[in-house]
């Protein structure tokens, strides 16, 4: 269970260009549903909200807890429970070779080297990526990279997955594969996306606008509200 206790982010007044800007207005929400989508315009605050869930961004007011652990004070406990998938796979892949990167995620659970290699290959095979195991991450196409990044995150075995626009670079088939894979996961998944059909499949959706959660409820209603706002030009951006 993820809880935002009036958590918000206000940039400090001494920031040269952004002084005093509200990136996320203090909000109080509990996130317990199995699939939660976050939608909204570019720059509305989606990524900031997601990053607060695992403490990558610390709230400047209020707090965020995961299963009761504070994301700032107990960051380590939180990160053992929350995995994070970034939009840009290049900033997420840490090792130069695909299999090495997956192995890195398995380090905690598999002390033995050969067992770890085998587990990494198995994890890759599960997403149909075993043919990429020995490739350099720089030789992959954008979509191939995004799938590898997902594989690495899933390998770590956390029970909440936060994903920031996980399907942006994917083709039709891989998009479906990823959505299907995410759908089957036993983990709770919270994701930001610009793909409104994907958002509509969630159990619940938050619509963010100008740093404020302006709608929270049924995914299909949130999507409809968003379309309406774009159509009627009531977006601040």
């Amino acid at each position: 269970m993820i809880r935002f206790n009036n958590a918000g982010l206000l940039l400090p007044a001494d920031d040269p260009t952004q002084g005093g800007r509200t990136v996320l207005a203090p909000c109080r929400v509990d996130l317990a549903e199995s699939r939660i989508a976050v939608i909204g315009a570019n720059g509305s605050g989606k990524s900031t909200l997601l990053r607060m869930v695992n403490g990558l961004v610390s709230p400047s007011t209020g707090s965020v807890t995961v299963h009761g652990f504070d994301t700032v004070a107990q960051a380590k406990a939180v990160r053992r429970r929350v995995g994070f998938l970034f939009t840009d796979p290049l900033s997420q892949l840490v090792m130069p070779i695909v299999s090495e990167d997956v192995e890195l995620s398995l380090k905690a659970s598999h002390k033995d080297r050969t067992a770890r290699s085998a587990a990494a290959l198995a994890a890759l095979a599960e997403l149909g990526l075993e043919h990429l195991a020995q490739r350099s991450i720089y030789d992959l196409s954008g979509g191939e990279r995004q799938l590898v990044a997902l594989c690495s995150v899933l390998a770590a075995g956390q029970d909440i997955l936060v994903a920031d626009e996980p399907t942006t670079l994917l083709d039709l088939a891989n998009d479906e594969l990823l959505q299907r894979t995410l759908g089957k996961l036993r983990q709770q998944v919270i994701y930001a996306t610009h793909d409104l059909d994907f958002a509509a499949t969630a159990d619940r959706a938050l619509l963010v606008e100008g740093g404020r959660i302006v709608f929270d409820g049924h995914a299909s209603e949130a999507v409809a509200a968003y379309r309406w706002m774009v159509r009627h030009g009531s977006m601040s951006a």
Binding site: Q18, L56, K76, G83, D88, V94, A156
Partner: protein
């Protein structure tokens, strides 16, 4: 991003004084002359004289710039102290005074250039100073472009370090910084390749 982007531009103190309006070449000439004088004549008169000259120029540049005079002393006083004591024992207190005052004079004159010149003017000056490379078959505009690309890359690399460390943290990898060092450099190379593609695609720096 924008915060770190501003980081490097922080030196210039806007103003309209005679020092601000003097040409960049003239300012650099003063720094070079002061440097040469201090190096050639190791006597107290030159050390203290150039230091006083520097203070004079700071006064000319206006109160805002003058207030910035003390900054290096706040950071580096212990270096000057150690150097002074050391040279007093090795040579003589008078020599220590000469050396320390001369060194401070050159550093202050160098800072004055930065405090009273915009970064754009500095880089223009750099391009002009680089014009002799024409003789070697190179193009000064290439150097100017290299400088611009370099300055743009500093915040980009800093951001990528931040992102990678976020990504590592998110995966529970906390054994910094050695685990992260290689990915940072690999990402940097990738960034250079993307930049190269973008330049080539815009026909900048075309070969044939």
């Amino acid at each position: 991003m924008s915060a770190s982007h501003q980081m490097l531009l922080g030196h210039y103190l806007p103003g309209n004084s005679i020092v601000h309006r003097t040409s960049l070449a003239a300012k650099y000439l003063v720094v070079l002359l002061v440097g040469a004088a201090v190096l050639v004549w190791r006597i107290p008169a030159v050390g203290l004289g150039t230091l006083a000259l520097g203070v004079g120029l700071f006064i000319l540049a206006g109160p805002r710039v003058l207030r910035a005079w003390v900054a290096p002393l706040r950071q580096l006083w212990w270096v000057f102290a150690i150097l002074g004591i050391y040279q007093s024992i090795l040579n003589s207190p008078l020599f220590a005074l000469t050396l320390v005052s001369g060194m401070l004079a050159v550093i202050q004159c160098g800072r004055l250039v930065l405090l009273t010149t915009t970064q754009a003017a500095l880089l223009d000056g750099l391009e002009r100073a680089a014009s002799p490379v024409r003789l070697l078959g190179a193009n000064p505009a290439t150097i100017a472009l290299a400088v611009a690309l370099m300055l743009r890359s500093i915040p980009a690399i800093a951001t990528s370090v931040q992102e990678l460390s976020d990504a590592a943290k998110a995966r529970g990898i906390t054994r910094y910084p050695t685990t992260l060092a290689a990915p940072v450099v690999i990402n940097t190379v990738g960034y250079a390749q993307r930049t190269a593609d973008a330049l080539a695609a815009r026909g900048i720096m075309e070969r044939n």
